[in-house]
Amino acid sequence: MTLCYQMDDKFEMIRLAVREFAESEIKPVAGELEENEEFSVSLTQQMGDIGLFGMTVPEAYGGQGLDYISYIIAVEEIARIDGSQAATLAAGNSLGIGPIDAFGLEAQKRKYLPDLCRGRTLIGFGLTEPNAGSDAGATSTTATRDGDSWIINGRKTLTTNADTPMTKGSIVQALTGTRPNGKVEYTCFIVENDTPGFTRNTLKRKLMWRGSNTAELFLNNCRVPDNAVLGNPGDGFKQMLATLDGGRLSIGAMGLGCAQGAYEAALRYSKERVQFGKPISRQQAISFKLADMALKIELARNLLYKACWLAENKRPYGKESAMAKLYCSEIAREVADEAVQVHGGYGLFKDYDVERFYRDQRLLQIGEGTSEVLRIVISRAIGC
């Protein structure tokens, strides 16, 4: 294996294809959807039409049969234009489709994947609870066996895509008992929306990603059949950890795309804006900011793609995935912040995209592992 920084033409074509779509279909409406807190069914379906859902799922299940790097490039390109649609896409792929593709039984894959991969349905991933965030071990939702079905009780929150008109159901992690060694056992269930006792409430008034859907889930004596268990009973914790490792790469891609979008906007504006007789891009205080932004983006992209490469080649990538998500999300903050600074007072208004990028980046240091939790993951991986 040689070190090679030349990417295949295929990746470049994936990038340009997604960019063309995002610039022509998402960019004109992103600001308005965001401001109105409106989830767009039609944009989500259009993303499905060009194959942005199920990118890494085999073609036999209706997926696109592509690799992880292609998927990450796609998320990056959508995030370069709009964090909200990127959130719908990343959560749809990594948290909805991902676990079913990776752990689902054959019948579950046949049942759910084709519509999910066409972008006609969505599935949420209910992990976070009001009192179990970073401390996933504090999960209190329970599922108890009753004949050949299960009864689930509990509450989930901050679940992306869980309450849209297209949502088919959510994957819910619940406590299902204690192992002989004393450890608690978790199981994931696919709970469909029409299950009696399962209700949802969309959470509004978010700071960012206002065009994406975030919901809380209430499970009140929800009876689900045995075949609603995702994969095997007792595998829930393992499934959750693996899902998050992959999900982190897509959040990393959102950070990278957000930074790229903010940087490009700042660079463009700095060439137009004239102060003291010349464009501010030619004034060192601003050009140095832009140079730093370009540097951070370059580093972030290299780190993220390396983590994807490891994932694609089935090598351990937990540490690199945590590093990539941490770094991409932190430089998204720094770059978006400086992009607003380059715009001066105008950057504070919704007429300029950087205002949105500045808010959108804020979630990235929290969702799918806070920066603090990621530092724990990394510090453990390096032997602290």
Partner: protein, 264 residues
């Protein structure tokens, strides 16, 4: 049914700049794209393929080896086969030599019912290659086409001629050139991109693969000589208004009324 679409890779002129000293295009760092109206031609062929059984769409391009990526893009949109005519001997061709060489390649393809070309390329803007190709192959042609219907071996098109729209029926084989009004090219799908690289090939033809008259190809076959290129200068400076959109609009309206460019 067999459709051949001719495609040209061009510099994205939205991003191109002209060297003020030499008057030539600065191509460095400028992305290459499929000529926009050739994309309309590909789309037109793909729609015929979707509406009819057993349609094979072949895309054909002449250009340097890097033009392969334009053909891959056409394959990603859904074309079935791609042929790239590439040889140093082809370089420097004007529209006459180009259409001659394309006609020889299409003769080699043999089976074709309809040839669809983009109306004109954004770099040369001549709109000559399509019509010359039809003449070279002795085919009926319709240009500036905005609507296409196929019934058995007859193609019926609406062709724009200034403000007049003509309906033309042609027995196939025939050639049409389409303008950007004919359709809106589709987005490439992710799986389409995968298939373009995994399942489909771009075949390369050099001069040895084609029966060509050496005096009619490349620079030898090109009677057109560019004597001089220049950048037109705009002597009147524009008026820049840098305000909030609503105030700018008000200023523009005042200006137009003042110059009697607009009356209520």
């Amino acid at each position: 049914m067999n459709i051949v679409v001719t495609v040209k890779q061009v510099p994205d002129t939205q991003e191109v700049k002209i060297d003020p000293k030499t008057g030539t295009l600065i191509r460095e760092g400028v992305p290459s794209i499929i000529n926009p109206e050739d994309k309309n031609a590909i789309e037109a062929a793909l729609r015929i393929k979707e509406d009819n059984d057993d349609v094979v769409v072949t895309v054909l391009s002449m250009g340097p080896p890097q033009a392969e990526i334009a053909l891959r893009e056409a394959l990603a949109m859904g074309a079935d086969r791609a042929i790239l005519m590439s040889d140093r001997a082809f370089a420097g061709a004007d529209t006459l030599a180009t259409s001659y060489m394309l006609s020889r390649a299409i003769k080699k393809i043999k089976k074709f019912d309809l040839i669809i070309c983009g109306r004109q390329a954004i770099d040369g803007d001549t709109a000559q290659v399509g019509p010359q190709l039809a003449e070279g192959l002795n085919l009926p042609q319709a240009t500036y086409v905005e609507e296409i219907a196929i019934r058995q071996d007859v193609v019926t098109v609406k062709s724009r001629f200034d403000s007049v729209m003509r309906t033309i029926e042609m027995k196939m084989p025939a050639l049409i050139t389409v303008s950007s009004r004919v359709n809106r090219p589709r987005f490439k799908t992710m799986n389409g991109v995968l298939k373009a690289f995994r399942d489909k090939d771009v075949v390369t033809w050099t001069k040895d693969d084609l029966k060509l008259n050496p005096m009619r190809i490349g620079i030898n076959g090109s009677p057109t000589w560019v004597r001089k290129t220049f950048v037109p200068s705009h002597s009147r400076a524009g008026l820049m208004i840098e305000k909030q959109p609503s105030e700018s609009a008000a200023d523009i309206l005042d200006f137009m009324l003042e110059k009697s460019l607009l009356r209520f």
